[in-house]
Symmetry: C2
Subunit: 293 residues, 2 copies
């Protein structure tokens, strides 16, 4: 410690990031190395920190959206579970996901010809470009970045997308609430082709079980096939994250073809065919939350 100037030590002492989870009585703390960027956009406060172990940490309104070391867990599960269910996904829409992690995963699929990233807040895109390695695919010729409210933007599409991925912030933060309504899910249904696939992040069943139930039930009231699935996400509340898969046609376990993931062996850090199937096995208390017994 002797080599660190007194002035810098004092700065470090004060950069304790504390995210209070729902209920306000517990949360995660991270001792940040420094704050690189903080901006109040028309939609939310955008912060980017550097953490000694986690690399870049990106938060919106004080809620951790990603850290560089574990974002792969979330993005791979959100994207590859639906995309490997489709035999030939060409047109994909991501709503939210301004850090670019979902876009990066979508573009791993060589069949994809058009990947639209609809992120409401252009300032998130700017910050990601400048600080987040996840933004690596923003300029890919197959990618198109649109800064619009996803809940409005989707209305213009009919029978168009092969996959829609909802990579939203929390329903209670920023503009996230628009992406948890039944009307929005109906518009997703309409925008999907007859064999389209859908996934959404649907919060954690420990601190936010109410939202898990609401999101799952609304999605399942729209789609004939709806299944909750889960994965580890180490810096999100409780480390136990839920996603909801939906489709008009493909059952995510019965219709799954593990051969499709073969060419990706060695490339992905979380997803594999066993994990795909396993993620749909729900602990009893989670089944209870979504009314499945």
């Amino acid at each position: 410690m002797a080599d660190i100037p007194e002035r810098e030590l004092r700065t470090m002492n004060h950069l304790m990031y504390m995210e209070y989870y729902t209920g306000g009585n517990a949360g995660i703390f991270m001792k940040m190395k420094r704050l690189l960027h903080s901006y109040q956009s028309p939609y939310q406060r955008i912060d980017i920190f550097e953490h000694p172990d986690f690399g870049m940490v990106f938060s919106l309104d004080g809620i951790t959206m990603m850290t560089e070391v574990d974002e792969f867990m979330y993005h791979e599960m959100l994207v590859h579970v639906p995309l490997f269910m489709h035999p030939d996904p060409k047109k994909v829409l991501i709503i939210g996901g301004g850090d670019g992690g979902s876009l990066r995963e979508v573009l791993r699929h060589p069949s994809v010809e058009e990947a639209i990233l609809c992120e409401i807040d252009p300032y998130v895109i700017d910050a990601a470009r400048k600080y987040l390695p996840t933004s690596v695919k923003f300029d890919d010729p197959r990618a198109k970045i649109v800064n619009e409210n996803g809940a409005e933007y989707i209305k213009q599409f009919n029978d168009y997308f092969d996959a829609i991925i909802i990579d939203s912030t929390d329903p209670t933060a920023g503009e996230g609430g628009h992406l948890f309504t039944k009307e929005f899910y109906q518009n997703c249904y309409k925008a999907l082709r007859e064999d389209g696939v859908f996934s959404a992040e649907t919060e954690d069943p420990f601190y936010d079980k109410g939202w898990v139930a609401i999101a799952y039930n609304r999605i399942s009231s729209v789609f004939p096939i709806t299944k909750l699935y889960m994965g580890f996400m180490t810096t999100y509340p409780s480390g136990m994250w839920s996603y909801t898969y939906a489709s008009k046609k493909y059952h995510p376990v019965d219709d799954y073809d593990p051969e499709r993931a073969k060419p990706f062996e060695g490339e992905l850090k979380y997803y594999n065919p066993e994990v795909h199937r396993a993620s749909f096995a729900l602990p009893n208390f989670v089944k209870e939350i979504i009314g499945e017994k």
Copy 2:
């Protein structure tokens, strides 16, 4: 807030529990309602808190061992995965587990005739009896509580147990290190009958991947069948917990008979046959940690 006396408010303001995870740059915080018990035993500091949402919180040397609301996730996965692999578990040894949660789960199995709980620290047993609902089975006629060092205690047994369950604290805390040595695992092997089953908590692959690898590799150097499995554990570091199953005879997926869990439907909050199988599906980065590709 106006109704809370100033004096009490000040007390609450100061009861912020912060557990620093390995590396020291992140962790969990809990705003505790009150500290009920704090005792420095010859082995470790034993603390019991009350939390407004989590109920009783039990920690050893500042490391959270359990909270009342989510301990079922850990105890069910540690105990039922091995016990349902055995056709008729009669004699079971639990090493560690002084809170009683593992003992409670073991005694759910009607075949069990003798369940020895070998907890080194009698003060943990005392505190659990007084404050923790998990101690509910301490006085069960089939249970026997022994306060000895598990690594020594096990040496007297040969070909005796049907199941051994290692419910230790962290390898770096208290007396936990004794329960992570190759010699200890060899003695477990010796103490098990030819169709015996074994499980151990083996830390988390995010903050403590070194220990996951060490424990798994040492166990697999002793047992012919060794498999890492995983489960959510929401108030443990990263929420992603690893366990290691081992046996001389039964493969935990190929030899699994889901019928055995049928009578437990409705009783367990986490474990079910789908979760049993799913827990052995490892994300790629975890396979890499244990050298499995």
